[in-house]
């Protein structure tokens, strides 16, 4: 099993995640894109952890990334809810108080 396949998958997922973050108007979808990008990064860690010299180290990183992603998702969603309370929408096009 060649390790490049993992990298290919992760690259693709990362690109897709980036595209989601940039294009989608819905704030929750943007969060989903971020999670997807974090997962793409995790795939790399896990793939690298199979090989020497430091076998398994990548898995720790993956675990921590998952934890941070969870925290990020929790805080991010909380913020989205506050934004929704305030603007009555989470469409990022309409949240433009900073517009000059």
């Amino acid at each position: 099993m060649q390790i490049e396949f993992y990298f290919l998958i992760s690259s693709f997922l990362f690109a897709i995640g980036l595209a989601i973050v940039v294009t989608r108007k819905n704030a929750i979808l943007v969060l989903m894109g971020i999670e997807l990008m974090l997962n793409a990064a995790n795939i790399n860690f896990v793939a690298i952890s199979q090989s020497a010299p430091d076998v398994g180290a990548g898995q720790f990183f993956a675990l921590f990334v998952i934890v941070v992603a969870a925290a990020e998702a929790a805080v991010g969603l909380a913020i989205v809810l506050r934004v929704y309370d305030y603007f009555k929408t989470i469409d990022l096009d309409n949240i433009n108080e900073l517009k000059g």
Partner: protein, 691 residues
């Protein structure tokens, strides 16, 4: 010219004279601020003030009998020129002072009765005070500029008093006319002042006297002691220009038209201003500036005076208004005085001024007394109490007035033993001497005009006396005509006594013995005007005989023509009397001077003004309107240009900026995702650059 001796201190005489000036002024101020209910008291107070002024002026006269008093002080300074003002009291001034004050006092007294119950009673007395003060100002001032100031003030008070009954249109118009005609004369005065200033840099009379003594005439140039020189013609022009002021004020030809109209004023005013004092101011001015006048100017004055004397006398022949007869006779007598001045009879002219002041004031006040009586007897609106056609036979009802009138009238005619005889003969004598001194027969015109006027004067005075006092009363009588109160009678009697020659000369047939004339010295002039060292001195007796015989001829002629039984007298009524022929019309209309001015000056002026008005409305206004429309159109174009191009440019810039802003805003536009996108693009670029 710097003046070494700027200030001459006050002395008791000049202080007294100043007091004399201040008293009527005080009366003017007090009456002006007093209440209406005190007006009768105030008028008595004013008369008292005038009495005090008269007594003071007599005191001044006694002091000034043989000495000249002069006080002056610096008025203001302009550059290196010092303007002074002050009082110059010589004998003519002191005499004039007495005359003005005394007649003003009598007129005040007379007015208390005459103006009783008038609406403008208070105003009248206030203006009388103003007038008297201004007149005294003219008399006393030592400075041509100050004289001019008072000259104008006198004109103003004359205007105010002629227009006393300003609600009457005729009175208002007469006042305006008098004022405007006087202004025409004043233009000459101002021109004369300018020339004098140009040459001498001073207006002070005493300095002018001494400077004129030092001038030299060479090569047709007029060189003053300080070296400034002008062409000699300017000296003549200056004299004539100054005299032109006198022409206006003294109602001389060709400006005499205002005086008959001025009779619209109250009769005491006519007596004071338009007979005795103000109109004599012109003569007095000529006396004051006598040394400034050269031979040409004097000749001009003599001819003006002679012509006026004749014209006035002729115009007086056919008037129907009792006051207008007197007005024209005043013009005529003023002409006499100026004629006297012109021929160098300085003393005689002044003498005539003083005698005339008294008897003419007497005549006017007597006329006023008659008018007053008639008013009291008939107050119907259309009743003209001044028209002689409403009179006749009044000698029985107003005997005192009759006597006063006859006495003063005889003085006016120049009847021997009356005052007018003395002064008039002195003038006539000098004119004859003067004419003799000239080689040309042309100069005999003046004595001929003078003697002719004597004849005509006799005729019109007799005519007036006959028409007013003899025969039967012609007007409508409501109540019987009664003589006026003691006050008026007293005033009339005083004035008629002054008309008797003994008051003026011990020998009432011989003017040289007059206490007055013998003291007036003819000012020494640079020009040999005197009597021109007359080769032939006409006998005084001969002159007296000629004038007296002319006078008697006139009286006899008048009696024959105007006697109560005659045809003229019977036809003389409001309905029938019209000027019969050309000569009568000429006289009645005052030589058609008014019509002449109307045709030659006023009508063309009206035409010019209406033409100018037409030009204004049709051309200038139209041009202005066109210009306005043009500017409006132009501004519309500019506005369009503004909107289309300037605004367009600005809008284009704004639009462009907006577009650029919108374009750049899409990057900045508050879209977090755009920022992310930009960040990633930046990241890619960095990676490309690194690898």
């Amino acid at each position: 010219m710097t003046q070494v001796n700027d200030i001459l201190d006050w002395n008791p005489v000049t202080i007294m004279a100043l007091l004399v000036f201040c008293l009527p002024l005080l009366s003017f101020i007090i009456i002006s601020i007093s209440k209406e209910k005190h007006q009768v008291l105030m008028s008595w107070l004013a008369s008292l003030t005038m009495l005090m002024a008269s007594l003071l002026s007599i005191a001044v006269l006694l002091q000034a009998w043989s000495e000249v008093y002069h006080t002056k002080f610096t008025w203001f300074q302009w550059a290196e020129y010092i303007f002074t003002m002050g009082l110059l009291i010589d004998l003519p001034a002191a005499l004039m002072l007495v005359t003005v004050n005394f007649i003003a006092f009598l007129v005040h007294l007379f007015s208390i009765e005459y103006m009783k119950g008038d609406e403008g009673y208070k105003r009248y007395f206030a203006f009388l005070g103003l007038f008297t003060a201004s007149m005294i100002g003219i008399v006393l001032a030592d400075n041509l500029l100050v004289i001019f100031v008072f000259w104008e003030l006198v004109g103003l008070s004359s205007y105010l008093l002629i227009g006393h009954w300003f609600s009457k249109e005729k009175a208002a118009k007469a006042a305006t006319k008098a004022f405007i005609v006087n202004r025409i004369g004043d233009i000459g005065f101002v021109i004369g002042l300018s020339i004098i200033w140009l040459q001498f840099n001073t207006f002070d009379l005493v300095e002018l006297y001494s400077l004129m003594g030092n001038i030299q005439v060479a090569d047709g140039m007029w060189i003053s002691a300080s070296g400034s020189s002008l062409s000699l013609i300017w000296l003549t022009v200056a004299g004539i220009a100054l005299f032109f002021g006198a022409i206006g004020k003294s109602a001389q030809f060709p400006l005499q038209i205002w005086l008959p109209d001025a009779m619209e004023g109250p009769t005491p005013v006519s007596a004071l201003i338009h007979a005795a004092t103000m109109v004599a101011a012109g003569v007095y001015l000529v006396a004051r500036i006598f040394v400034l006048l050269n031979i040409d100017a004097l000749t001009f004055i003599a001819f003006t005076g002679a012509i006026t004397a004749m014209m006035g006398a002729v115009a007086a022949l056919t008037q129907n208004d009792i006051k207008k007869v007197l007005a024209f006779s005043t013009i005529s007598q003023l002409g006499y005085m100026l004629m006297g001045m012109g021929v160098g009879a300085y003393d005689a002219a002044l003498f005539h001024l003083f005698t005339h002041a008294f008897f003419k004031a007497g005549l006017f006040l007597a006329a006023g007394s008659i008018i007053h009586s008639l008013h009291l007897s008939n107050q119907a609106n259309d009743f003209d109490a001044q028209d002689m056609r409403n009179m006749g036979g009044l000698r029985k009802s107003v005997p005192v007035t009759f006597i006063a009138y006859v006495l003063c009238g005889l003085a006016l005619m120049g009847m021997p033993i009356f005052s007018g005889f003395l002064s008039k003969d002195a003038i006539l004598l000098d004119t004859l001497t003067w004419a003799n001194a000239h080689q040309s027969m042309f100069f005999y015109l003046i004595p001929i005009l003078g003697f002719g006027s004597v004849l005509i004067t006799a005729v019109y005075v007799s005519r007036q006396i006959l028409l007013v006092f003899f025969g039967e009363f012609k007007g409508q009588e409501v109540k019987s005509i009664k003589e006026n109160s003691l006050l008026i009678k007293g005033v009339l009697l005083i004035l008629s006594i002054m008309a008797i020659g003994v008051c003026w000369s011990i020998n009432p047939f011989y003017s040289e013995m007059s206490w007055l004339m013998s003291h007036i010295e003819i000012p020494s002039s640079a020009f040999d005007i005197g009597m021109l060292s007359a080769s032939f001195a006409p006998s005084h007796l001969m002159v007296s005989l000629i004038s007296t015989s002319l006078l008697l001829t006139g009286v006899v002629f008048a009696y024959l023509k105007y006697r109560p039984e005659g045809q003229y007298f019977r036809n003389y009524s409001l309905e029938t009397l019209k000027p019969q022929n050309f000569w009568q019309s000429l006289s009645y209309e005052n030589w058609y001077l008014d019509q002449f001015y109307q045709t030659v000056f006023i009508n063309p002026f009206h035409k010019i003004t209406s033409f100018a008005k037409a030009i204004d409305t049709h051309i200038i206004d139209r041009m202005v309107n066109l210009f306005g429309m043009g500017s409006v159109i132009f501004s519309y174009i500019v506005a369009w240009f503004d909107r289309a191009f300037v605004d367009g440019t600005v809008n284009a810039v704004v639009f462009l900026t907006g577009r650029v802003g919108t374009a750049t805003r899409s990057i900045h536009g508050s879209k977090a995702q755009s920022y992310i996108l930009a960040a990633v693009i930046g990241l890619i670029i960095i990676i490309f650059l690194i690898f």
